[in-house]
């Protein structure tokens, strides 16, 4: 997104992933943080840093790559003036809000944006959206999973429901907000009209279910947990143990089942009435497991995946993060970035979508790292910037280096 200016005023995974997504497509993103820093700077996982230095949040470092950073006290009048100038620069502002106080403050911010820059798009990500009975409710990563229906469906049937292994509702909501923002930006360029975009995580996530909701509206079925099986029909479709770990396989059609039986050299199973339909295979999943596990446990992940993919049955190894980092297919495609973080050389996803406008990787900013250059570009005299820094209105990390001054 050549030339798009995005101002990130958010303090959530959803907001940060929204602007990261836009930045990786070429938008110029300036992240504004309070002088104490974005709360995500303190979010786990925390990386042990060199002696005497604060731990670094991997969450912040990942989500804010590709952005420049300004630290600003917007409660102060001079800080608010700088914020207005930043809004004047922006084509889109991304905010986050959670809980009554922050949601109430969104109205003021929208008024400031409308008054300062009426062509500016303002995207607000929040747990429940800007209206409705739950608007002011409190939320967490766990409650996002819970209210959007994922929690109830995940985990073993006889145990408590289970959340996903990370704050991924935030990422998915942020990606949703990025699509909406990009479309509104393009429209605003044609019409010179900005607008407010309201993205709630509950609604965004509920909107991403494949069939759970239509399953209920069409057939009245309440979905239940099925562990590592595919609920309601088909088997094996899910995780299975093998010789050196686990694989995921998806026998999701009659063809797949027939090819699996042949691949295992068990053609007689094709004649077994119990397994003749997807429904029957699910109903007799324990029996199928007993039949296929010896074959699986005698083979490695790679052997199984090669065999199944060769007969066009979807299959992959269950990889850990460290194994994925070593996956050659991703390195070959230029998926990874490398950056010095917390005293080491980190490997992290760069741009997941790569266009001509995708920029080179830029590490997440130190707090206030680009305050001087950004304010100078907005027309502030150098002395005025230094006064704001001395007055504690602007945070600016270290003094400008020759390299930064030239960038």
């Amino acid at each position: 997104m050549f030339g798009a200016h995005v101002l990130d005023l958010s303090a959530s995974v959803a907001g940060a992933y929204c602007t990261r997504s836009l930045a990786t497509l070429g938008a110029e993103v300036i992240k504004v943080e309070p002088l104490a820093g974005d709360p995500l700077r303190y979010a786990p996982p925390l990386l042990p840093a060199d002696a005497g230095e604060a731990a670094v949040s991997a969450t912040f470092a990942y989500l804010n790559a590709y952005k420049r950073g300004v630290a600003l006290d917007i409660a102060n009048a001079a800080g608010r003036d700088a914020l207005a100038r930043l809004i004047g620069w922006a084509d889109a502002v991304v905010s986050s809000a959670a809980g009554k106080a922050e949601l109430d403050a969104i109205g003021d911010r929208q008024a400031l944006i409308s008054a300062t820059n009426p062509r500016c798009v303002h995207t607000v990500v929040s747990p429940y959206g800007l209206s409705g009975p739950y608007r002011d409710y409190e939320a967490s990563d766990l409650t996002d999973w819970a209210v959007s229906g994922y929690l109830q469906m995940t985990g073993e049937p006889e145990r408590e429901p289970l959340q996903g292994g990370g704050p991924w509702c935030g990422h998915a909501t942020g990606l949703t907000a990025a699509v909406a923002t990009a479309a509104a930006l393009r429209r605003a360029r044609a019409t010179s009209g900005g607008q407010l975009i309201d993205v709630g995580a509950m609604e965004a996530m509920a909107g991403l279910h494949q069939w759970s909701l239509v399953l209920y509206t069409h057939q009245g079925v309440v979905k239940r947990r099925a562990g590592n099986r595919h609920a309601e029909s088909y088997h094996p479709l899910g995780l299975q143990p093998c010789k050196d770990g686990a694989v995921c396989m998806a026998v999701s059609s009659q063809d797949h089942w027939e090819r699996l039986c042949l691949a295992m050299d068990r053609p007689e199973l094709l004649l077994d009435e119990r397994f003749a339909t997807g429904a029957g295979r699910f109903d007799h999943a324990d029996e199928i497991d007993a039949l296929i596990r010896p074959w699986l446990l005698a083979r490695t992940r790679d052997e199984i995946v090669a065999t199944l993919q060769a007969c066009r049955i979807p299959a992959a190894s269950v990889l850990t993060m460290t194994e994925l980092l070593a996956e050659p297919a991703l390195a070959e495609r230029g998926f990874w970035a490398e950056a010095p973080i917390a005293g080491g050389t980190a490997q992290l996803p760069g741009a997941p979508i790569r266009l001509d406008s995708t920029p080179h990787f830029r590490p997440a900013p130190a707090l206030g790292e680009h305050s001087r250059t950004v304010l100078a570009a907005l027309g502030y005299e150098q002395e005025a910037v230094e006064r704001l820094i001395a007055a504690g209105v602007v945070g600016a990390g270290a003094a400008p280096s020759a390299m930064e001054a030239g960038s």
Binding site: L47, Y62, Y128, Q195, V214, V222, A279, A316
Partner: protein
């Protein structure tokens, strides 16, 4: 909704991720033409086009019984290919062109459409369109400004380009299944796969960004989106951490890496639960005031380290309080104290949820061969756009005449010949 008004998309997609990308563009106002094979409409149509598919046991199964398709009242009806709820959810607001792309006349129609379109979106295997002479190199000869987006499991330029995948496969491959699970347990897949959802949104985002760029440069492009990559990217902070520490995150069940306690607690009723997070010491004090000093009053628990160390005991005390209460009541009591506590909602709860209803989330849609059914609507609200009007998914080939006749200008005799030859169809 006019954000993408004037944009035409050829949506040659199947299953989930591709149709979702196209649906987002359609919801945002683009003219999206869903290109289908007569026999390839998702799980509702058997490979040979017959109705003798394995899903047809409906009537014999005791409810609840979703098996191989989602049909209104579990009845595939006379034209099941138009009644499949999963398809209809993913393809609303589109037009349907049912064309045999393996015939020369079919590829000619596709090529003519490329001339009057902005975007070609596909999630077939990366080699499929090129094999038909419809790869990006072919398309840009026809229309240099065309934007072609290939949304495959592993990427068009990948050692795995010929692999087949589904959502749970990519969840496993991306390292995110291994990061999910009960404490001390193994990897666990999500109950509703996310990779296709993330892949579909990513495809839509890539296309909108490419349109933005094309507005400036006039140049089309080829976008090679890998769903494995778009999904692995949502685990970025864990990958970054693993790269520096050499260690993998261990599943922690429903707990939080940042605060304690956090959990999913049983409520009154069958399989009814409350999700609760206590993020600060102040929130803990408010919880203690509600649940009781008697069970939660331990002084060491006033600080997060003490709570983390005694998490099991705290969980038991909280569960003793929740177990006697309906989840809605527990939620109301705790939220009134400013605590993030919510009922764990089922799919049925979401359909009936008063908050989502107030936001207009579920919408009633009337469509051919189906009648009125509720579907999830569009989840984003724009202040300067009319709400997304949901037009039901098109019947198979329902727009053949409008697309090939009106848009491409083939006359009635030509249309009749195409139908006669089986190049165009409206049923398997």
């Amino acid at each position: 909704m006019n954000l993408l008004a004037g944009v035409r998309v050829l949506d040659a997609t199947v299953a989930w991720a591709g149709p979702l990308a196209g649906r987002w563009l359609a919801d945002l106002g683009a003219d999206v033409i869903h290109i289908e094979r007569a026999t390839g409409r998702g799980a509702g149509v058997a490979p040979d086009g017959s109705r003798g598919n394995e899903g047809w046991r409906w009537g014999e199964l005791p409810p609840p019984a979703f098996r191989s398709g989602v049909y209104p009242d579990a009845d595939p009806g006379e034209r099941p290919w138009n009644r499949q709820g999963i398809f209809n959810k993913m393809n609303r607001n589109k037009r349907s062109l049912c064309v045999d792309l393996k015939s020369p006349a079919g590829t000619a129609i596709f090529r003519d459409l490329v001339l009057v379109s902005d975007v070609v979106l596909d999630n077939w295997r990366p080699r499929a369109l090129p094999a038909l002479g419809l790869g990006y190199d072919d398309l840009k000869q026809i229309n240099p400004a065309i934007i072609a987006c290939s949304l495959s499991g592993y990427g068009a330029a990948s050692r795995y380009r010929d692999r087949v995948s589904l959502g749970p496969i990519l969840e496993a491959h991306a390292g995110l299944a291994a990061a999910t699970g009960y404490a001390g347990g193994g990897a666990m897949k999500l109950g509703a796969a996310l990779p296709d959802a993330i892949g579909g949104l990513s495809g839509a985002l890539a296309i909108v960004a490419a349109l933005w760029n094309r507005d400036l440069t006039g140049a089309g492009c080829f976008i090679d989106v890998s769903q494995l990559e778009t999904y692995a990217a949502i685990g970025g902070e864990a990958l970054l951490t693993a790269s520096l520490t050499g260690r993998d995150p261990a599943p922690i069940g429903n707990r939080s890496p940042a605060y304690a306690p956090q959990g999913v607690y049983p409520c009154a009723g069958d399989d009814e639960w409350l999700a609760l997070s206590i993020r600060t010491d102040a929130e803990w004090q408010r919880l203690v005031a509600i649940v009781g000093e008697q069970t939660l009053g331990e002084p060491a628990w006033r600080a997060v380290h003490g709570r983390a160390a005694a998490h099991d005991a705290i969980d038991a005390a909280i569960a003793a309080w929740t177990r006697t209460r309906p989840r809605a009541q527990a939620m109301a009591i705790l939220q009134a104290a400013g605590l993030p506590a919510v009922a764990v909602l089922t799919n049925a709860d979401i359909v009936a949820d008063p908050h989502l209803a107030a936001r207009g989330f579920m919408v009633e849609v009337d469509q051919a061969d189906v009648g009125m059914r509720a579907f999830p609507g569009f989840p984003v609200h724009f202040s300067a756009e009319a709400p997304v009007a949901v037009r039901g998914a098109p019947p198979l080939g329902g727009d053949n005449a409008a697309v090939v006749g009106d848009l491409l200008g083939r006359d009635e005799a030509a249309m009749a010949r195409l139908e006669q030859a089986g190049v165009l169809a409206q049923q398997p």
